[in-house]
Symmetry: C2
Subunit: 506 residues, 2 copies
Amino acid sequence: MHSDLSRLIELDRERKRIAHIGAILGWDQETCMPPKAVDERSEQLALIESLAHEKSVRPEIGELLLRLGSTSANPSGDSSLDQIERAYLRVLRRAWDRDTKLPADLVAEFARAVSLGQAAWVEAKKNNDFPAFAPHLEKILGLIRRQAACLDPGKGAYDVLLDLYEPGSTEASVAAIFSRLRKDLVGILTKIRSRPQIDDSILHETVGEARQKAGSDWIMDLLDFDRGRGRLDISAHPFTTTLGVDDVRITTRYIPDYYPSSLFSTMHETGHALYELGIAPGPDFQGTELAEAASMAVHESQSRFWENMVGRGDAFWKRNFRHLAELVSPALDGVRREDFVRAINRVAPSFIRTEADEVTYGLHIILRFELESDLVSGRLAVPDLPAAWKVKARELLGLEVRDDVHGCLQDVHWSAGLFGYFPSYALGNLYAAQFATAMRKDLPDFDDRISAGDTASILGWLREKVHASGSTWLPSELIERVTGSALDPSHFVAYLEGKYSRIYGY
Amino acid sequence: MHSDLSRLIELDRERKRIAHIGAILGWDQETCMPPKAVDERSEQLALIESLAHEKSVRPEIGELLLRLGSTSANPSGDSSLDQIERAYLRVLRRAWDRDTKLPADLVAEFARAVSLGQAAWVEAKKNNDFPAFAPHLEKILGLIRRQAACLDPGKGAYDVLLDLYEPGSTEASVAAIFSRLRKDLVGILTKIRSRPQIDDSILHETVGEARQKAGSDWIMDLLDFDRGRGRLDISAHPFTTTLGVDDVRITTRYIPDYYPSSLFSTMHETGHALYELGIAPGPDFQGTELAEAASMAVHESQSRFWENMVGRGDAFWKRNFRHLAELVSPALDGVRREDFVRAINRVAPSFIRTEADEVTYGLHIILRFELESDLVSGRLAVPDLPAAWKVKARELLGLEVRDDVHGCLQDVHWSAGLFGYFPSYALGNLYAAQFATAMRKDLPDFDDRISAGDTASILGWLREKVHASGSTWLPSELIERVTGSALDPSHFVAYLEGKYSRIYGY
């Protein structure tokens, strides 16, 4: 390997290592830290962030990138380099540009604005008082637009933001996908609403924490989560975090009268963790920027694949229902597997995104995509947001939103300055379904394998096709390589049609 | 405050904050980390250590110290400064000299030598093979002598090492104290050995982990450990670690057939934690070098005070025995409090330091002090260590050491390069007893307070007299201020005489 490249990797690993140290502090804060340490922890995190930034913007990195031929216009560098080396230069140039193009005062102003914004959002949500939050949202949007202009003045602001989470995507490309998806989801929902609805009250029996934890441990073992390289803890909101190449941790929460919450969140987070643990672009690139997920949406595809396509499927429960019933006994005593599977797949439009089912979830996201792209472009003014939300909720979900707590104040993202992030959630479902279609060609007995407890061959397929390459490929390249075609919502729609026409009998 | 001093405090807080981040990584490694992350964690720790070193040796710190008049010869700086400011300059100059006087290649060579040395020690201990470890010990001793010469070429090497852990102490001052202590401990032990011995088999009933944990939680609450600023976890060896001003964590371990282990180790570590949490040299100096313990021995005085002088005392169990018996039931069913208190105070010479009782513990330390000072000075050659150990064990403990695993291979310290550390353990007992004598003058009803559950007034006394000042005073100054006289082993000896003459009836 070129000595400039070796040196670059060394510098990159150091910045990644500091990021992992930050993740250790973050994990501890959410799972273990005593409450009075919170102010000091935020100072510790700020210090680690500034150290990580220092390491990320070392001029030597920029010089080495240039020496290897990598520029913003030609990120992959010299054509004489290996393919993987060129892929590496591409992702590192991308990170370098992102880290160096924002002026320090803008970064600091943004940090202050989102810190104040999040506090204001918490209060506004508590008091159903959107006007109290509006000036903060205005301020954050202004800074977001300035950031986008710094990162790429030649592109639309929302395109720049989308590209941060889903590299290569644009407002137009996402809008094209979502307009097809929107029509099909509304169609499926209409058919479901015409049928007798499902009662899922059988899922609301009380199950103690120790048994719910045993359930989570069992799920992790079923899905081959390597406990030597990770662990399960409790936090207020479930998450997955990477503390190192060999240290990926997940969390869940135990709701006494709704054990499916911990069961399915554990599957979801295990899906994220299996992706992180499966990234292996070769020993030369371990612990580097190349050993990152391809995108947020591809990440989400892995969590939703395991949670929904495996974990809410009949095949999975054919094998595992009896053991679950023993674990949560007497909560499922006398319940038939078929009724359990119907209950965990109940579809019903609701106000809150995080509680949405597989069918309506995408509609929640489309709503947010349409509103946030309008907000960023200025087509929608901040004071008009609550009314615009209500109109979209009626159109997309058929719901009359009664207050902003059940509308535009429900999510943390905008107050945290996360614009362009929401689409990843819905795109993740599309990637998952398209990967699954390809998988079924290679493993036509997919359902039988699941029923027989052979999730290992499925994980093996994902590791080889999706996980291992990390961010070697853009998401659009990855989906082409794995499935032979561009991202196409028809796979997800066909999956929903097949599943819900059976469940609802339409 | 002088602006140079404010800036110095700012730089100092940053280096301390990185040390706390390192402590978070270390705590996680011992309590939570999945096993396969161990190699990566050591790289993360090495990175944090190098960042901490960078921050510690910033030339600006040295310049500011000089500008404030602080030199190695006059560490406290300008006489026009406040007393606390001068104390602060003294401790920071001390740290600065320690951090800057060792050449980088010596630091690196030492790190390698102790890393190899510890691995060799583990093997040698497993195989009872001192000769395999001897060359490592030789190497480490050579580097230790070089370090001492760098730190202060004008002093004896062992004096320099002792001063790292117990500032202001010397081989001669420790030897003077230990020679009196040795005579008195041997005298007490002889009297105890002439009496009927105590059988502590009543302590070896099996108690499950959940109930032992409840016992540890109960002890922490009894001793007013603020759970908002700390927590309890499990590790292979109990320890206390400071992750921040408001985050001090302790650990214990649960031995199924010996619950007193977790009970008393929790008292011990809680004592350490209460000290750390009580350090409060004023808001200006929070999170600085002044907010550190006065010394290792003063730290140990706090753990041993709570573990032994409170926790193994009859007054404590007058109030708490019944509740303990309920917690561990049926392990103590039918056992009288008097017999429980006798059993937890059984004295018997044994080979292993970490299992020693209050009387023989000091003899284990004196043995090590005499041997390690001879090793460092070269008066004792490494190959002669096993034989020298056996002679001392016979003299001090009346024991015939049958192999080096029960002799000079038992402790990790020397393989880790920790020479000069052992005396702190015994000095801690002396500080504890002398503090207790002074405390009984202010609180003559000490025992009644303990029996009445009023440990708060005792903690309040320690906070005010011992904890709050941090490292404002040298240990020798602190003991003078608190008790009116220099460290004197007679208080500890009188405490042992009073307690064990009652227990053994001599």
